[in-house]
């Protein structure tokens, strides 16, 4: 290496250091989170232990290399030695790593055994992934709901006129916010039973050090016990199709007292929703009302695939504009498709209210110039769902 190259190397190193220093000044996170559970802190310690060991080995090995590169170069008149074998040294650098590895394996094993102990839980929640939302079901509580990304589409489609990466037009929790977070109590062992309705997803909250795949047709277990009430955010961690990047997880950890209050509130809301469903059966909504609610429902639940324009993304996601189902086909067939799903189309019967389904089907049959004039009421949906 000549002098020019050395200058080059120094310049490069300086450049890298400066750019990292510059980054570190922002509130950018550089390291793994410590998290808010005993397990997540153990995991963090293990991470730091292995990192320090790697750095130590790196410093030794790379120092030897650089020493050799600086002092054992031909241009400095170095003459090559002729050793090329030493059983002693070979044994030394086979045995030493084995001892270091054992030192890492021991704490890793105990943490892992702890993580995999799912016994004696206080609360059990079933988590079901589907394209591209999470469903939470509380055992013994009769509470269940879907949790969907709540960041408005216009924010990630950059429709607010802003195009700069600092997210002037983007909310603080851009892509990490949902309509209804999972709620769990603090200081209780919460067990998760994780599965999927379609492809493989993975439920991950870094602050809990919980990442568990949701496999269709199988149930996986995981658990957490959070010390600090608060809101924690995560994301789906297994590629699950088009909107894999758009199915976040938000967990609201409440004190046990607040959690009990929340449970009561949910029971009331569930009862109210059931009443509203019953009431909507007798209701005859006007076309305007249906179209308005239909558009809201469509944008929230259908437009990711069928697109706000109704043009879809053929051939995977068919267009609804001018489609046979939404224009010529029977209303009953259209309803059955929305209620029960088919192939890649998920069933919405459990996710949406009768009113919403009535509205969205009306919307799809009249928007974008489909203009069938058909109106669908909650009672029609009820009848279709009982078939």
């Amino acid at each position: 290496m000549n002098r020019g190259n050395q200058t080059w190397l120094m310049g490069a190193l300086l450049f890298l250091c400066c750019s990292y220093a510059n980054l570190a000044s922002a509130d950018t996170q550089l390291n793994l989170t410590k998290g808010v559970t005993a397990v997540s802190r153990e995991v963090y310690d293990l991470h730091m232990l292995s990192l320090y060991i790697c750095i130590a080995i790196g410093v030794i090995v790379f120092s030897a290399m650089f020493w050799s590169m600086i002092f054992h170069r031909k241009s400095k008149g170095a003459k090559a030695a002729d050793f090329h074998e030493s059983t002693k040294v070979e044994i030394l650098w086979t045995a030493t790593p084995i001892i270091i590895l054992i030192a890492m394996a021991v704490p890793a094993t105990s943490t892992l055994i702890n993580m995999e102990n799912n016994d004696n839980s206080d609360v059990t929640i079933q988590i079901t992934g589907s394209q591209w939302k999470w469903h939470y079901k509380y055992f013994d509580e009769d509470i269940e709901y879907y949790s969907v990304l709540s960041t408005p589409r216009k924010e990630f489609e950059n429709q607010n006129g802003s195009f700069d990466g600092n997210g002037a037009a983007k909310g603080k929790n851009y892509l990490l916010e949902v309509d209804k977070p999972l709620v769990i109590p603090a200081n209780k062992k919460v067990r998760f039973l994780i599965t999927s309705d379609d492809v493989i997803h993975s439920w991950w909250v870094p602050a809990f050090a919980v990442k568990q795949d949701a496999n269709p047709g199988f149930i996986n277990e995981a658990w957490t016990n959070v010390d600090v009430p608060g809101t924690y955010r995560g994301q789906c961690a297994e590629l699950c199709g088009k909107d894999h990047g758009f199915m976040p997880i938000v967990v609201d950890v409440k004190t046990p007292e607040d959690y009990d209050l929340w449970l009561k509130e949910q029971h009331v809301l569930t009862a109210q929703a059931a009443d509203a469903e019953k009431a909507s059966l007798g209701l005859s909504m006007s076309k305007d009302e249906l179209m308005k609610l239909g558009e809201i429902t469509y944008v929230a639940h259908c437009s990711a695939c069928h697109q706000p324009t109704g043009l879809g993304l053929p051939p995977t996601f068919p267009a609804l504009k001018g489609s046979v189902v939404a224009t010529q086909g029977a209303i009953a067939e259209h309803l059955s498709l929305v209620l029960n799903g088919k192939g890649m189309m998920p069933p919405f019967g459990k996710q949406l209210s009768l009113k919403e389904i009535a509205a969205v089907v009306t919307y799809e049959r009249n928007a974008w110039g489909n203009d069938t004039g058909d109106l669908v009421q909650s009672s029609d949906v009820k009848a279709a769902s009982e078939e």
Binding site: L32, W93, F156, P206
Partner: protein, 533 residues
């Protein structure tokens, strides 16, 4: 040298009729059974694929330059990541190594050609068709495969788009090509070594390709099997990976990674061979611990068969399974460490010079070791729960595959270019290529460690705002690294066209039979085997 001159003249006498038997124009390349021609074809093909896969990566980095969806739709983004991975693994790295095998193995063991020359032609020429099929799916209505290069079921079966069959047949053809290439390597090494060249006298380069070829023969049929199961699940109603029909989606991952883990060693063992050839040459000192290098390579190959499920710690394995695969994976650090220590010991008290092949080799040792460190951290199951499927993993395997495999390929290319072309390459331009690559590749991949630790999942087209700063730097590094590779193209073209005439042995510390023939290497070499003692 004197023996060699005699060999050459014997060559000329014995093979006079051969020498003019080279077709001209395109026919020479289509019909060729010459190992050097086929090696050249493989290397050019790999470079074209590297640029293709790199172009896809640059679109990915452009999309990830800032938060929000700017350039591509999420579905197309998934197509880009999928095809980028497939092209780099099966189109760039693997064929490049096969190119080295073709060019160098016969010359290193003193053989006149590969043992099965006609099959050799066939194994190259089916490759362009495989990639034409794969890439053509970009222009189909359904688009290219969008389920990641690991094609996990059922995303790749029930939920796939219409181009899965094209993907499956493309992979079949790549697999057939690899198996034929591997058989050829094994047969050549076993049968055509020069008299006196016992196994433990073979250059380490030959050893690593020998072991890699066995790995290929062992696992490519597994890949063929798993894509076929995928095909029948998608189109013929079987339920290998569908729980509703009695199958299991996780079984897909077991079969895939039983291929996939040895596959990653298929992409790194030859790199070990190349670097182990170059470092002694420029340290002017024999490779330290030759036999321990051979045993370390063999142990890595054997261990590669019992660590596959470390890619699957979050799938819900039993505790015993997690412990078993964690311990076995950690064990790999031992032979890998031996290799790194041996390279350092080879450099130690040598008489070093730093021509471009050496620069790339040293960068390889340092940066591959960094990739090895993150690999060791990933082996620890409890922490892997945090790292898994984040950019930490992306950083890890790019350190191993780009600054590992790809850098070794560049090192090898610069090392043997004089032998291939008969000219010395431009050292100045080559150093520019090295330093630009070195700086940009670290700007590209090092911050990915931080992104992963901070919690950014891989394979997402858009991200939360706290990841914005690093992604911008990563993208800038990506563009710079991509463009730097064009310098390599310039060096190679310049070198082919002309330059200082290369002597038979342009590197004074180099050893091996390939340096006993003139530069450029004659079309036929070692028609009479040399004697090795």
């Amino acid at each position: 040298m004197t023996i060699n001159t005699i060999n050459e003249s014997l060559d000329d006498a014995a093979t006079d009729d051969h020498h003019d038997h080279k077709m001209t124009g395109i026919k020479r390349w289509l019909y060729t059974t010459n190992h050097k021609d086929i090696g050249t074809l493989y290397l050019w093909f790999a470079f074209i694929m590297l640029l293709t896969g790199g172009a896809l990566a640059m679109v990915i980095r452009a999309e990830l330059f800032q938060p929000g969806l700017q350039i591509v739709e999420p579905d197309f983004f998934n197509q880009l990541t999928t095809v980028h991975g497939l092209i780099m693994v099966f189109g760039a790295i693997m064929p490049a190594f096969t190119g080295f095998a073709n060019w160098m193995l016969p010359m290193m063991i003193g053989a006149p050609d590969m043992a099965l020359p006609r099959m050799n032609n066939w194994s190259f020429w089916i490759l362009p068709f495989a990639f034409a099929i794969l890439l053509s799916s970009f222009f189909m209505e359904s688009g290219a495969p969008n389920f990641g290069w690991t094609f996990y079921a059922p995303l790749s079966t029930t939920y796939s788009n219409g181009s899965t069959a094209f993907f499956v047949f493309a992979v079949h053809i790549m697999g057939i090509s690899s198996i034929m290439g591997a058989i050829n390597i094994v047969v050549t090494i076993m049968n055509l070594r020069a008299p006196g060249m016992t196994y433990m006298k073979m250059p380490l380069f030959v050893w690593t390709f020998f072991i890699t070829a066995y790995l290929l023969i062992a696992v490519m049929p597994v890949l063929g099997g798993v894509v076929t199961m995928l095909l029948t699940d998608t189109y013929f109603g079987t339920s290998f990976f569908d729980a509703a029909g009695g199958g299991d989606p996780v079984m897909f991952q077991h079969i895939f990674w039983f291929f996939g883990h040895p596959e990653v060693y298929i992409m790194i063992l030859p790199a070990f061979g190349i670097v182990s050839t170059i470092i002694p040459a420029f340290a002017r000192k024999k490779l330290f611990g030759y036999s321990s290098m051979v045993y370390a390579t063999a142990s890595i190959a054997l261990l590669s068969f019992i660590v596959w499920a470390h890619h699957m710690f979050t799938t819900g394995m039993p505790l015993f399974g997690e412990l078993f695969f964690m311990y076995c994976t950690m064990l790999i650090a031992v032979p890998t460490g031996v290799k790194v220590f041996n390279w350092v010991a080879t450099m130690w008290r040598g008489s070093m010079t730093f021509e471009t092949p050496m620069l790339f080799s040293i960068a390889f040792v340092i940066l591959f070791t960094i990739g090895g460190f993150s690999g060791l951290m990933l082996a620890l199951t409890p922490v892997d729960f945090q790292y898994h499927d984040t950019y930490f993993v992306v950083a890890h395997f790019h350190y191993v595959l780009v600054t590992g495999s790809l850098f070794s390929i560049y090192a090898g290319a610069y090392f043997w270019l004089p032998k291939w072309t008969g000219h010395m390459y431009s050292e100045t331009l080559a150093r520019w290529h090295f330093w630009c690559s070195l700086i940009s590749v670290n700007l590209l991949f090092f911050p990915m460690h931080f992104l992963g630790l901070a919690g950014m999942p891989r394979r997402i087209p858009d991200y939360a705002l706290q990841f914005a700063d690093f992604n911008k730097w990563v993208s800038i590094g990506g563009f710079a690294f991509g463009l730097s590779q064009l310098m390599f193209l310039a060096v190679v073209i310049k070198c082919i066209k002309g330059g200082k005439k290369a002597p038979a042995k342009p590197w004074d510390g180099a050893e091996g039979l390939e340096w006993t023939v003139e530069s450029p290497a004659p079309y036929h070499t070692f028609s009479t085997p040399p004697k090795v003692d």
